[in-house]
């Protein structure tokens, strides 16, 4: 019951509506913002939403320690439950995270080939039925469009939806007049859905810049609550 409630009332439904049903299999989504604005929180929120729907998730990370990522899930889950006035159920979290595997690559600049090899090994050899892959901390400046294309090929081959975070580090302005981050311009061809988190008037807005080939920046109607780090309706 609590599961259904969490899924039904999730702001992810709003997000899905604004992108015609969600990211979809074989597609690449990117969430871009400056460091520390809340990308990881958003991606974990997306991941938990999938887990609640009994979909298997792989969380790939490059920057954090495994226990830090686990803490993220605990935090976001308990805030989600609290938000609906439900007592956080630790058993439910234990239950759903059985469908999550964290893959951490702690060495900077681990070749994309190695990441993909391990990802595929987990899905095939480990028979892990992943549908969603979260890639947090992937370095876009240090990678080529080719690297992203390799992810895309794998996503298509294995029917995965892959969400990346992209940390924007350059000086302002960060975005061109169509809302695309300058730093991601080289890879736009490989990105199906592009979202940004932008700080305005003490609030963090989620904007949908591009979805499935259509370039039309819109406010999704979601903001990131700075206290809980949850996406909520504006």
């Amino acid at each position: 019951m609590i599961t259904e409630e969490l899924v039904r009332k999730s702001p992810m439904r709003i997000l899905e509506n604004s992108m015609h049903g969600g990211l979809g299999k074989g597609k690449i989504g990117v969430l871009a913002s400056r460091k520390g604005v809340g990308k990881t929180a958003c991606l974990v929120h997306i991941a938990i939403d999938r887990l609640l729907q009994e979909k298997a998730v792989i969380h790939v990370s490059f920057s954090s320690r495994v226990d830090h990522i686990m803490t993220w899930y605990e935090h976001i889950f308990s805030e989600m439950a609290k938000n609906l006035g439900l007592e956080s159920e630790p058993n439910l979290l234990d239950e759903i995270i059985k469908n999550r595997v964290i893959m951490n690559f702690s060495q900077k600049g681990t070749p994309t080939g190695q990441v993909l090899r391990s990802l595929e090994a987990l899905i095939k050899n480990g028979r892990f039925p992943a549908e969603t892959v979260i890639v947090d901390g992937f370095s876009f400046p240090q990678s080529s469009p080719d690297d992203l294309q390799k992810f895309r090929d794998l996503a298509e081959r294995l029917g995965l939806e892959v969400w990346f975070s992209a940390s924007l580090k350059k000086e302002d302005p960060l975005f061109d007049d169509r809302g695309n981050p300058y730093e991601l311009e080289c890879c736009l061809g490989q990105i199906d859905v592009l979202m940004t988190l932008q700080h305005r008037q003490e609030k963090v807005y989620l904007r949908l810049i591009k979805e499935h080939g259509i370039q039309s920046p819109v406010e999704v109607g979601l903001i990131l609550d700075p206290k809980t780090l949850l996406l909520v309706e504006t």
Binding site: V66, K98, V101, I102, M103, N104, F105, S106, Q107, T110, Q114, R117, S118, A121, L122, K124, N125, G126, R127, F128
Partner: protein, 696 residues
């Protein structure tokens, strides 16, 4: 006299199996004049290194027991506590680590950071043990200390400060350059006992100066005084030592030394480093659990004046009786005074107080906070806390995990069964996770422990130390039963076969109870069951829990609530109500939908990243859940949760999957529900066994 605490070091020597830990320990004992002859580890001369006091360890070249030994170096007392490295010996490892204030991490200059290095490194970090690294075996072909230093940083995440560079490697290895004094150090005499210091050879000058600069840069981060002095080119030895010491104690830097213990090179400077850089006991915070305040943690004062708190961390049978190794955390222990054991609640008088060498003893009058010593003839268990009367503190939580695996053992010779029971008794006393009993049905001797290797080691020890050769049955997983829903009972126990009858009626319900084994709730009103019989009911329920009727294993996670009942003036008795409770329980049990539980283990596999696919597959085939994988360059570690019943023989499977390059550790995590198809098999097997025994 108690020792000056500032001049005490309690250290462990941690290493991967073949890094030369025992040889190094042996050399330390020799140079500190504790022994007069050196032996080699694997006993070419049939004697073996002094520290490995157990035969088995000698043969396998590994160390299981945490014997402590006491040496003196530069007016300092160093207690060396031997630490077991394998996770299967969790309790022993944890106890040994608690007792340490610092450690030497030994690495092989060829093998570098190996899988067990990671395990011991993790343990050292978990217990916040400051550490110095010793890169050993510089005389070996392929020695590459620079590689090992970068691995310390990259794979272990330890920022290092290199204090020595080698003079020659492999068969050219002659000594080291001390970057603090900027001298070449050579080790001469038959056994390297003469340390000769000389100017740095010209061909190494440039390299040494660069390394010295790196040392100053790293150490300066921790001392403004050194920073200023270094800038002016007048950094003194004392300033450098003080800065490195500060960073080491704070666990910000790991000093690196090197040499070849086997070739007697570099050991004395390592001892200097232990004294210089590792903390004395007063620099480490230690906590105890206050049993009068719900186990709240309180900080101990490492002064001799405070009331005594000491931990019995290791028991050993010696030719003179039971020896109890203790670490004093607070106050002091004086011969003839009284102490209190907070577990057994017994007072005892300190008889003989001893300082230990690996195989000899020195009797002392008193020992103070920070010291390691031993007591004779104290009746206690490993892990007990001894305090001054009036205190009620425990150094370690009382919780001891239940064994998860059992094995039937049969002595090859009938005559040895006496020795077998002596051995079992002693092992159980030393290690609370090791137990034994005789199965009432099969009359077999069953030993229980925390894993396959855990039991293997004890089987070997029985053979070696007690001369009891054993055959073993198949390892058996410690399953449990539990219930999934509430069920009511209303049960009458009635017997009238002439003479006094038996009568008892109990009414109530059983229900699942998360996280706890058993709870009994009495809600009987108006004396429908006379108060005197309530404990008998409780006892009856508990008797039923001992062996479930689903698969024949203990039942856990049940709350029994007694709401009503009936007694008979004459025929009711304790016995009658015990029988009624048991009968009621079994009546409700089936309706409560019992299910089977199995031990789930936390598994960590470490090895080259190229093998992750095979490891993932092996975990999946064993019904495991992969929790995470971490890759650090070419090295990978996979964490998973796997049912113990699927893990027998995994070490050989993993060896063949990874060409012997991966290793795993495993420890008990929790009980989990057995999946239906497997549970059905267990149930069928048990039912068949029941029918078989009925048929007899």
């Amino acid at each position: 006299m108690a020792l000056d605490i500032k001049k005490v070091r309690n250290i462990g020597i941690s290493a991967h199996i073949d890094s030369g830990k025992t040889t190094l320990t042996e050399r330390i004992l020799f140079y500190t004049k504790k022994i007069h002859k050196m032996h080699e580890v694997k006993g070419k001369d049939g004697i073996g290194a002094t520290m490995d006091s157990m035969e088995l360890e000698r043969e396998r070249g590994i160390t299981i027991s945490s014997a402590a030994t006491n040496v003196t170096w530069e007016n300092h007392t160093i207690n060396i506590i031997d630490t077991p490295g394998h996770v299967d010996f969790t309790i022993e490892v944890e106890r040994a680590l608690r007792v340490l204030d610092g450690a030497i991490l030994v690495l092989c200059s060829v093998g570098g950071v190996q899988s067990q290095t990671l395990t011991v490194d993790r343990q050292l970090k978990r217990y916040k043990v400051p550490c110095i690294a010793f890169i050993n075996k510089l005389d070996r072909v392929g020695a590459n200390p620079d590689k090992v230093i970068s691995q310390l940083g990259e794979q272990l995440g330890r920022p290092t400060v290199v204090l020595e560079i080698p003079i020659g490697l492999e068969d050219q290895h002659q000594g080291v350059i001390d970057l603090v004094t900027m001298e070449a150090v050579y080790f001469e005499g038959n056994q390297g006992e003469i340390v000769r210091r000389e100017p740095i050879p010209s061909e190494l000058r440039t390299r040494a100066e660069k390394a010295r600069q790196d040392l100053l840069d790293a150490a300066s981060m921790f001392s403004e005084e050194l920073t200023a002095a270094a800038l002016e080119g007048r950094a003194t030895q004392d300033q450098i030592i003080a800065a490195v010491r500060k960073a080491t104690v704070a666990r910000e830097l790991t000093p690196v030394l090197m040499g070849s213990a086997y070739k007697n090179k570099g050991v004395q400077p390592l001892l200097d480093a232990v004294v210089r850089y590792l903390p004395d006991p007063s620099e480490i915070e230690n906590f105890a659990f206050d049993l009068d305040q719900d186990g709240r943690e309180i900080k101990l004062q490492s002064t001799p004046e405070a009331p005594t708190v000491a931990l019995a961390f290791k028991l050993e049978e010696s030719p003179y009786g039971q020896l109890t190794y203790i670490r004093i955390y607070q106050g002091r222990i004086v011969k003839g005074t009284e102490l209190f054991n907070t577990r057994s609640k017994q007072k005892f008088r300190v008889g003989r107080l001893i300082r230990m060498h690996a195989d000899s003893l020195e009797e002392i009058e008193e020992a103070g906070a920070g010291e390691i010593s031993a007591l004779f003839g104290i009746d206690c268990q490993s892990g007990d806390t001894f305090v001054a009367p009036g205190l009620n503190l425990a150094m370690s939580p009382i919780f001891v995990p239940e064994p998860v695996i059992s094995l039937a053992v049969f002595p090859e010779e009938k005559r040895s069964s006496d020795r077998l029971s002596r051995a079992l008794k002693r092992f159980a006393k030393e290690d609370p996770t090791f137990r034994s009993h005789v199965d009432p049905e099969s009359k077999e001797t069953i030993i229980q422990g925390m894993g396959e290797l855990h039991l293997d080691v004890y089987i070997e020890r029985m053979k070696r130390e007690y001369g009891v050769a054993l055959r073993t049955g198949m390892p058996q997983v410690a399953y449990r039963e539990s219930i999934s829903r509430r069920a009511e009972f209303d049960y009458v126990h009635k017997k009238q076969t002439g003479g006094a009858g038996q009568f008892g009626r109990v009414i109530g319900f059983i229900e699942p109870l998360a996280e706890k084994g058993y709870e009994f709730v009495n809600q009987v009103k108006g004396g429908r069951i006379p108060r005197d019989f309530i404990p008998a009911c409780d006892k009856g329920f508990q008797a039923a829990l001992k062996k479930g009727k689903l698969i024949g294993f203990p039942i856990t996670g049940v709350r029994v609530t007694l709401t009503d009942g009936q007694a008979h003036e004459v025929d009711s008795s304790d016995l009658a109500f015990q029988a009624a409770a048991q009968g009621a329980f079994w009546k409700a049990y089936e309706a409560a939908r019992p299910y089977a539980l199995e031990p789930i283990m936390k598994l960590s596999v470490e090895g080259p990243a190229e093998f992750v696919g095979s490891v993932f597959a092996s975990i999946n085939q064993r019904r495991g859940i992969i929790i995470s994988s971490s890759e650090d360059g070419m090295f990978a570690r996979i964490d998973a949760e796997v049912p113990l019943s699927e893990m027998f023989g995994y070490s050989s499977v993993l060896r063949s999957l990874t060409q012997g390059k991966a290793e795993f550790t495993m420890e008990f995590l929790k009980y989990g529900r057995v999946p239906a198809p497997i549970a059905e098999k267990l149930i069928a097997k048990y039912q068949e066994k029941l029918r078989g025994s009925e048929g007899k």
